[in-house]
Symmetry: C2
Subunit: 79 residues, 2 copies
């Protein structure tokens, strides 16, 4: 039986995944649903869902919209 070895160093997760996790963390801390955030930021719920799941390389404009909707600085939203 072949033993699968895991790499010693865990590679850093992709930027999109880290950004999604950061957004989700702040959204949960503030108890804001995907839908409420979408409404406030002028985005769709499905787009927020895709960002959450680390699928989107968001633009600076979207970063600023999300930060404004969450009432935080864009800097705080960077992973």
């Amino acid at each position: 039986m072949k033993v699968v070895e895991f790499p010693k160093v865990v590679p850093q997760e992709k930027l999109e995944v880290r950004f999604g996790a950061k957004l989700r963390q702040i959204r949960n801390e503030k108890d804001i649903s995907q839908e409420a955030l979408a409404d406030k930021a002028g985005l769709t719920r499905s787009y927020i869902g895709r960002i959450d799941r680390g699928r989107i390389n968001v633009s600076l404009a979207t970063l600023y919209k999300l930060a404004e909707a969450l009432e935080i600085s864009p800097k705080e939203l960077l992973p």
Copy 2:
């Protein structure tokens, strides 16, 4: 003759324009040419030129590449 009135409040410049100005400022402080930055960040000189002129709504991935090439934190590059 019609008198052109300027708005009393100067509207904030577009995000892309403010980002271009910030990139140019840091690039100049560090005395790095558009070409050198392009090489280091894996982008083209013409793309850096368009960012500088406030034409591009850059992605998070590009923000991080530019910051890494300038040896600063992505937070410092946000306008």
